[in-house]
Symmetry: C2
């Protein structure tokens, strides 16, 4: 199944200059009534300090907010760069048509009442999309709050309040969320570069904006709130490219359980509906926020501070308890407590009071004033074994929170390359110091844990950044694609979607996967011949895609060692099946070589509608759904390095390396096998589900035993 | 090993009336110097509005803060109820002695410089404890900030600022944390009933205060910040009793990884150092906060709102996005989205605008004013399928946040039994409404997730509250304790700590656990006789506590079916051991019956220094440490119901119920076996570690195969 394609998607990377940096803006549906959106937008554009031309359009007005009002677009003396449309939904396509004819290249459709209200709205929306595509208009919305750029400046939205200038871009699928955040940011003191309300994202979507903002020199961090992704391929490409340049932090909501239940394969059942997003985000280098608080904590830290060069954190505190709480958070986040340099310890021993704790967390004691804080902070900032510094301040009788803030600010200017964070643990007494820090862009929290979780997010980004992915190393010169096509042809002609075991094994073999030999016999003597050819012992299994639980109907006989046993087993199986399932006519009986047991693995594939095939690897056998020891990756763009990482994330890896004195398995051949499976499902989008379970891993090589493949043409 | 006992612990439940409700307070070390703690304390007691007598004691002063100052305690015209001591450490024991002689029954020792500074300080602290015990003085500290009671009122501390009157008690092992929180609470508007700084908790500790505050009528919630517990037994008793009356919320820091690594048993290695706390908290009905933010969010919600009667939550919102984010948080917290009553839906269909979403989350739309909010909130408050209500407010052009707040407040008064929470998603525009809510004790958050996590904590409490524990149902009348003592006697006489397999099996048998028959043979013919007695097939295994990996030295022979095979195996094993380990003289060779395979389980025990034996249950076999499918409970006070819950928490449970068509195992006998193991380790505190792995579970009964017991006398 191909990626779901959005109605009329323009696939080229969008140049969004006319949207964010227009020389002139027309507002169609402008109004003098202050309760109308058409008035708020004109006012917002005017009041934000926009330096270009403003052209309100409304046949009933002469002047709006001091600007000459035009009867229609064509009356305007120049061609506007940007059209902001807030006329009723039924008029929108006419206006868009007019824009197209005039050569206007960008439009923000504020108006609601499209796809979100049902089939009639969807029809109107499709018309908008088709006009937009015909004329190449970059369209935002419909059903959106608008867009903002604080640096141009431009506020083409009906949001109350324009944010402070800053370096955070915020892309939101929820208009309400956007308006909320704009209001919240004013009290939190956070600045934004660009703010985009996606609305119904009929033409431009999150991927287009991520792509464009990746190259925006004033944006340091990209934040997204999304509820879904329409075009997984484009999203992945855009996010992967952007995250190499700046952090992309996403809060994805709507992570419900539905969907996973329908899956019929082990791999599908294990994956769940959110897993494709999770995997895609990881592989694209996206940092996923788990809550709104986390989204904005991360945004603040990325915006205000440089990236840490490693995970070693130093704590400077004036009290023990908060130091322990912070150290716990560091441990829980898989970060490291810095171990100080000898020079640092010597200096502390010499200059701090004897009761001070000179090891991390450095406790400068309750009577510490700003000079002692400064000394301790500067010393750890200089220590080469420290990557980030967290300063904790509790209000004691002598604590001078403002002066300590000034020292932190000064030291950050002196050592701008090492990130520094503060927890001002109190309210009233520390409020002024805390304000100074925020103003100077030192992230400050009331309690220490969020500081640590934010540092963990920054470290995750730095690490993902360092994982250079070498593309295209999953290529093999021994693949027989025609053989796979021939098998699929037989299956389709047979009006089946489930491959027989012998067919699935042949598909695997065509891709160089060592499947346990398995052949189809249609009469007893053929089974005996095949058994002799494969070598004893063999297994006989009824071949029918209609029989799900073969053992239950007496359809399986194992450990057959002689021609007689094979002959009798064939007849017995056929009799059993006829007795239990009189209406099923089996394709025959599959004869397979009984392989020696090895470490049981599963290699599988499930397909996500947005992100394509997901490869699974883990502990196999009959308990696979119980143990849930499975790691996933998108098959697309998978590399050998990532396969190795994927394998190492499972408990199966511990077994493969030789657990409790057992011999290590042939890991190289397992990696190769996963690579071949990934290539197979990338090449054949019609493979809907695949389970290879078990794969027996041996000291030398492996054997893929039971391969289930479902195709969907 | 017995519970660690604290120096001179007074074990009776403390009557803390003289501490919190004294008629008179003496401050020894009072001062006129405003920079001295001795001055701050007098001022704090005076300014909080304390109505009793205040007696400063300082030989150098005549008057302090308007009160007559006394040269020493005996000069005071009456016997003070409470002594607050802030003289230098070296004088503290003299003062305590004086207090004792005068019959003063309560003391707060503020002074630092005791245990925390090393051996010299520890000596002084021991002296304080011994005086305190001799005279029966309830002593807080030393090295603490003091205590507060806002209802008496009394502020016997040097904390800057006295909290608002409220119903939250806060017990803190960190003085700095306490002072921080007092400062923070003033800006957050949170009120407290009692505040206790534990300091070194030389006499009174968290358990004493939890115990006392359990009965305090003005306290609704007990909050604790602790770094360790000195007396696990007392703590468990106090917390279990208190949590039946009111929620006890604990932030336990110092959850480091050290300690777990030393464990030699599987069970010990799986447990880790934090697990005993985790298990003890769960069994005592304590709610564990994971961060400071969570601690105070929970405190606020418990303090402000009634307990929810179930886990079904209704969301009322004026925007879609935030509703989805909230629904996600509900799903992630294992809470339930309420499904409305038909009446509710009919009413919504009739009275809300047609575009509104009438299902949960109820979207009253962006143009909703306070009347529509009121209607929707009241309707869900009345719905019998709703247990808690969360109101989300985003700032749109028409949102009147203050009036919405007034409606919420009014409705909460009208429906006081159903908890209600708000997320005011914004800053400036919503600030006044948010303040109104806080003042009226409606918990209000900026983002919705913390509201949901707090509701989850409240639900957890309600559930734990409902789990009535019937004590003492682990009693059996077929236990042979003398047989166990006799075996332990032999082991000790042998100067061993590890039991032989045959000894461990005998111990298990004495407690009615079906161990696979195993006997010790010291020469070949004895092994043959035992094999004939047990019945073939048998296993022979070298018996020596010095040989850890018996297979590696050729010390194990399995599936022996004849007398000849047994004879040869005996000789071969002895030869192998002599060759590989010439210095080891085995105790003999253990002959055991080879049992049919069943579902492999582990039942084990590790002992925590504070909380005593922890029982483990889970998937057994050689992969036990890899799969980590183990659930733990404190053995003390364990009931059959809890054993059933414990088993049901593991994946092993899925297997036992009959996985993928297998026959279910005999769960009743497994529960009985765990109960017997728990009784054994409760009875014999000298059992240091125990692993029974594997236990084979069968359709009928089970068999305990390999039992390892270590004792420590």
């Amino acid at each position: 199944m191909p990626y779901a394609v959005k109605v009329g998607k323009v696939s080229s990377v969008a140049d969004l200059t006319p949207l964010f940096n227009p020389k002139s803006v027309a507002i169609i549906g402008a109004s003098n009534n202050p309760e109308k959106i058409g008035n708020v937008i004109v006012k917002n554009i005017k009041e934000c300090g926009f330096s270009g031309q403003i052209y309100p359009v409304n046949p009933k007005e002469k002047e709006i907010e001091g600007y000459t009002c035009f009867t229609n677009l064509s009356e305007i003396p120049e061609k506007p760069d940007l059209a902001v449309i807030c006329v009723p939904a039924k008029h929108c396509s006419n206006i868009m048509e007019e824009c197209g004819k005039l050569g206007i290249k960008a439009a923000v459709v504020i108006t609601a009442g499209f796809k979100e209200i049902g089939p009639a709205g969807l029809e109107m929306e499709k018309r908008l999309v088709s006009i937009s595509n015909r004329y190449g208009i970059k369209m935002v919305g419909p059903n959106c709050v608008g867009i903002m750029d604080t640096h141009i400046p431009l506020n083409a939205s009906f949001s109350a309040g324009f944010p402070q200038k800053g370096d955070i871009a915020f892309i939101s699928q929820s208009g309400a969320m956007l308006v909320s955040i704009m209001d919240w940011s004013r009290s939190a003191g956070l600045g934004f570069s660009r703010v985009i309300s996606l609305g119904n994202k009929a033409v431009l979507d999150e991927a287009d904006f991520i792509d464009a903002i990746a190259d925006d020199p004033v944006t340091k961090v990209i934040l997204c709130y999304i509820e879904d992704v329409h075009n997984g391929k484009h999203f992945l490409e855009a996010a992967s490219r952007a995250s190499k340049k700046k952090p992309v932090i996403v809060l994805k909501s709507g992570t419900s359980q539905a969907g996973a239940q329908a899956a019929s394969s082990h791999t599908g059942a294990l994956a769940g509906s959110d897993l494709a997003y999770e995997t895609a985000f990881t592989q694209a280098g996206i940092i996923r926020a788990r809550s709104m608080t986390e989204l904005f904590d991360l945004a603040t830290c990325f915006s205000y501070q440089p990236l840490p060069q490693g995970d070693r954190i130093a704590i400077v505190t004036n009290a023990g308890g908060p130091g322990i709480v912070t150290a716990d958070a560091i441990e829980n986040s898989n970060l490291t407590m810095a171990r100080f340099d000898k020079g640092t310890l010597d200096l502390f021993r010499e200059k701090l009071p004897p009761e001070a704790n000179i090891y991390n967390p450095v406790d400068v004691l309750g009577d510490a004033k700003s000079d002692r804080y400064r000394f301790a902070i500067e010393t750890v900032l200089k220590d080469p074994h420290v990557d980030s510094v967290v300063v904790l301040v509790c209000p004691t009788a002598v604590t001078d929170a403002e002066n300590i803030a000034r020292q932190i600010i000064d030291l950050h200017e002196k050592y701008p390359d090492k990130p520094i964070f503060a927890a001002y643990m109190g309210g009233v007494v520390l409020a002024e110091g805390s304000k100074l820090l925020t103003k100077a862009k030192i992230p400050v929290f009331t309690f220490p844990e969020p500081a640590i979780y934010s540092i963990a997010g920054m470290n995750k980004y730095v690490r993902s950044f360092n994982d250079e992915r070498e593309a295209g190393d999953l290529d093999f010169d021994d693949i027989d694609r025609n053989r796979v096509k021939a098998i699929f042809y037989d299956v389709i002609r047979d009006r089946r979607s489930v491959l027989l075991g012998s067919e699935a094994a042949a598909v695997a073999e065509a891709y160089g996967i060592s499947a346990a030999p398995i052949k189809l016999a249609t009469y007893p003597e053929e089974a005996v011949d095949l058994a002799e050819e494969l070598g004893y012992p063999v297994v006989l299994k009824v071949a029918s895609p209609k029989i799900m639980h073969k053992t239950d109907v007496g359809g399986v006989k194992i450990a057959l060692n002689t021609a007689d046993q094979v002959r009798n087993a064939f007849i017995e199986i056929m009799e059993n099946v006829q007795r239990y399932l009189p209406n099923v006519i089996p394709h025959g009986i599959e004869v397979s070589k009984m392989m020696p047991r090895g470490t049981e693995l599963i290699v599988g594939m499930t397909r996500d509608v947005q992100f394509g095939p997901l490869i699974a690897f883990g502990l196999g056998g009959i308990y696979v759904n119980l143990l849930k020891d499975v790691s996933f990756r998108l098959a697309k763009g998978l590399t050998r390095n990532e396969i190795t990482t994927m394998i190492s994330e499972t408990k199966a890896y511990t077994l493969l390396r030789g657990y409790r004195g057992e011999k290590p398995a042939d890991l190289v051949s397992i990696i190769e096998m996963v690579a071949r499976a990934a290539l197979l499902v990338n090449d054949f989008q019609e493979i809907n589900e695949m389970d290879i379970n078990p794969v027996f891993a041996y000291k030398d090589g492996y054997s893929a035993l039971d391969i289930k493949i479902t195709i969907d043409i």
